[in-house]
Symmetry: C2
Subunit: 331 residues, 2 copies
C-alpha cells in the first residue's frame, strides 16, 4: 500500500478502448433488437451498424471500462495510466483527447489502417439500466507489444478488465502485464466486468482469482456466477481467502469489502439514478484512489460509493464534475 | 397558417450542419483561449484543434442551430426536413443518424473527400452560459445545388439560420430557398443567430427583415444590435411592421411576440439551468410547431418556452426527452 510514494503512477488500467454511443430507448427496443438487458454483448461491425440504425439520437462519449476507471482516478487527483488500442480515426482521437486532457498517461500507439476504434452502443432504458452492445474493433488486437513494462513497473496497481479475456491476443497481453506487475512487487486488480463474461471465462477467472489477483472487483451477479452459487452470502464465503481483497458491489444495497477477517459493509451513496453506465468502473476508481493514497478499506469503500453515485446521476460513464474535492476524505 | 394540411412538411430548416463537442470549463479557460463569452466565433481548422487540445473531456452530440430546430419540431411530432452539408465521415454519419432517427427528412448528399463535417466547440462555463467556436468545414460549401426545391415547396415554413450568411455560397443558397418558398406562397422564417453575426451582416439582415422574412426570431442582444439601439423596447418598436411576426427572446425574462397590433408577453418556463446551448433553437422549434399546427400566437410562445426550458436543463442542444406529450397543448 505504501508504494504510491515511490511510484510514478498510482494505477495503470488496461482494457478495451471504446467510445460509447448512448441513447434512451423504451423496453420494446430491447425486445425488438434481442439484446440481453443489463449485460454487455459482443457484436460484429455489421450488427453494430444494424442496431445503431434503429437507435434514437445519441450522444458520444469516451468509455471502455478500464478507461472510465482511469478517468475517475485522475478526476480524484490520482496518477493514472492507460493501456489500450485505438485506431487513427475520429473515435480514436476523441478517446485519446478525453484521457490526456485529464492528465492520464496514454501513449499506446494508434493503429494505422485496419480495424476502426471500438464502439459500445449503450441503450438506456426507463429504469436507468444500461444494456451494451460492443464492437471491439481494433481494441481486440491489443497484444503484448502494447504492454509498456516501464509503466506497469511504475504503477502501484495494475488494473485489468475481465472483458479483455474475450479477444485472445489481449488476454495474453494482460497476463503478461500481471506477471510484470508482480515481478516488480506491485498489486494486480481485476474486475469480473459482466456475468456473461464470467460465463465465458469461468475456469480462467477462478484460477486467476486464486493465484494472480490481489484485489478483486465484482458485482453480485458476477461473483455468484463465478462460484455458481445462488446467494450473495455464499459467494462472499467462497471468495474469502482466495484473494487478498475483494470489493463486492450490490447496486443500491451498497457493497461489501472483504480482507481476511476484516469485513466492511458500505452503504450506497444516495443518488438520483439517471443512467447506471460506468457505476462499477467508478466504484473501482474511488476504491483504488483511496487504496493507493493510504486510506483504510472502509474509506476506500466510501470513496468508491461516492464516485459511483456521481456517475449514475447523469448520462455517460465518466465523471461530469471533478472528484478532487472529495480526495482529501479520510486523509 | 392553414397550409400544413396540404404540405408534406411543416418546416424545412436550412443551416450549417455541425457536430457539437461540449465540455465544462472554468472562467480562466475563456480568458486564456480568448474566446468571446456567450457568442459564436468562427475559427479555422487549426485554431479549432488548438482550442480542443486545451479542453476538458468532452461529449459529442449533433448540433447546428437549424439542425437543433428540426430535431425539436420532430420531437413534438411535427414533420421536419433539413438541408445542410456534411462530409462522408464519422461526424457526418452521426449528424445524419441523429436527424433521421427522429424522422427528419434529410437527403442532402454527403460531400466525398474535401473538407470534413463542421464541428462546434461548446465551452460551458459555471454560469451555464455557452461560448461557441465553430469550424464550418464542408458546411460552408453549401450551395444552391443543395436546395431541393420540391422540399422547400412542400414545406409550410422555410426556416433559415443567420449563421449561413457567413459563408458566401451558402448565403446564395438560402436566398434562393427563400425565393422558392415565397413563389410557392409559403412562409420564410429567419433567426438572427448571434449578435456578432448581426454585426457582420447588418445591412443585409435589415433588408431581409424588411422584404423577405415573415417570421423573425431574435434574442435581445441580436435585435438591439440589428437596429443599433440601446433598449429592448426601442428594438421592439422598430421591428413592428417590418415583418409579419417577430418572436423576441429575453432568456429568463421570457419573450415577446409581435404581430401588427397584437403583442404577447410570454413568461419563461421554469427550469434548472445546466447548459443554455440550443435554447434559441428549441424556442424556434416550439414556436414553429405550434404555428404550423394552427395554434394562436400566445400558445406558440408557450410551446416555444417549454421546449427551450427542456433543452437548457441538460447538457447538449437537442431534446433529451420526447416533446410529443406537449404537442396537444392548446389544440
Amino acid at each position: 500500500m505504501g508504494r504510491s510514494v515511490v511510484s510514478r503512477f498510482d494505477v495503470v488500467c488496461i482494457g478495451n478502448a471504446l467510445v460509447d454511443v448512448l441513447s434512451h430507448e423504451d423496453d420494446a427496443f430491447v425486445a425488438r433488437t434481442a439484446v440481453e438487458r443489463g449485460t454487455m454483448g459482443l457484436v460484429d461491425e455489421a450488427r453494430s451498424n444494424e442496431i445503431y440504425a434503429e437507435m434514437s439520437p445519441a450522444i458520444e462519449a469516451s468509455g471502455g471500462s478500464a478507461g472510465n476507471t482511469a478517468a475517475g482516478i485522475a478526476s480524484f487527483g490520482g496518477r493514472a495510466a492507460y493501456i489500450g488500442r485505438v485506431a487513427d480515426d475520429t473515435f480514436g482521437k476523441l478517446f485519446t483527447h478525453d484521457l490526456r486532457s485529464l492528465g492520464v498517461h496514454f501513449e499506446s500507439r494508434a493503429a494505422i489502417g485496419g480495424l476502426p476504434t471500438g464502439r459500445c452502443l449503450v441503450i438506456i432504458t426507463p429504469d436507468a439500466q444500461r444494456t451494451m452492445c460492443t464492437y471491439l474493433g481494433t481494441g481486440a488486437e491489443l497484444d503484448t507489444s502494447y504492454i509498456d513494462e516501464a509503466v506497469v513497473e511504475a504503477a502501484a496497481v495494475t488494473y485489468l478488465e475481465g472483458y479483455v479475456w474475450d479477444p485472445p491476443p489481449a488476454k495474453g497481453a494482460v497476463r503478461h502485464a500481471a506477471a510484470v506487475a508482480h515481478r516488480a512487487d506491485n498489486r494486480v486488480a481485476l474486475t469480473l466486468s459482466d456475468p456473461f463474461c464470467v460465463d465465458r471465462h469461468r475456469e480462467e477467472f477462478l484460477e486467476l482469482v486464486e493465484h494472480d489477483v490481489d484485489i478483486l472487483f465484482a458485482n453480485e451477479h458476477e461473483i455468484t456466477s463465478l462460484y455458481e452459487v445462488d446467494t450473495f452470502d455464499d459467494a462472499l464465503q467462497r471468495v474469502r481467502g482466495h484473494c487478498e481483497i475483494a470489493a463486492l458491489t450490490r447496486g443500491k444495497h451498497g457493497s461489501v469489502i472483504v480482507h481476511g477477517d476484516e469485513v466492511h459493509v458500505i452503504d450506497a451513496h444516495p443518488a438520483r439514478v439517471i443512467d447506471t453506465t460506468g457505476a462499477g468502473d467508478l466504484y473501482a476508481a474511488g476504491f483504488l484512489f483511496g487504496f493507493t493514497h493510504g486510506r483504510d478499506l472502509a474509506m476506500c469503500g466510501r470513496l468508491a460509493s461516492l464516485a459511483a453515485a456521481e456517475v449514475i446521476s447523469h448520462v455517460a460513464a465518466r465523471p461530469a464534475v471533478s472528484l478532487a474535492e472529495w480526495a482529501a476524505a479520510g486523509d
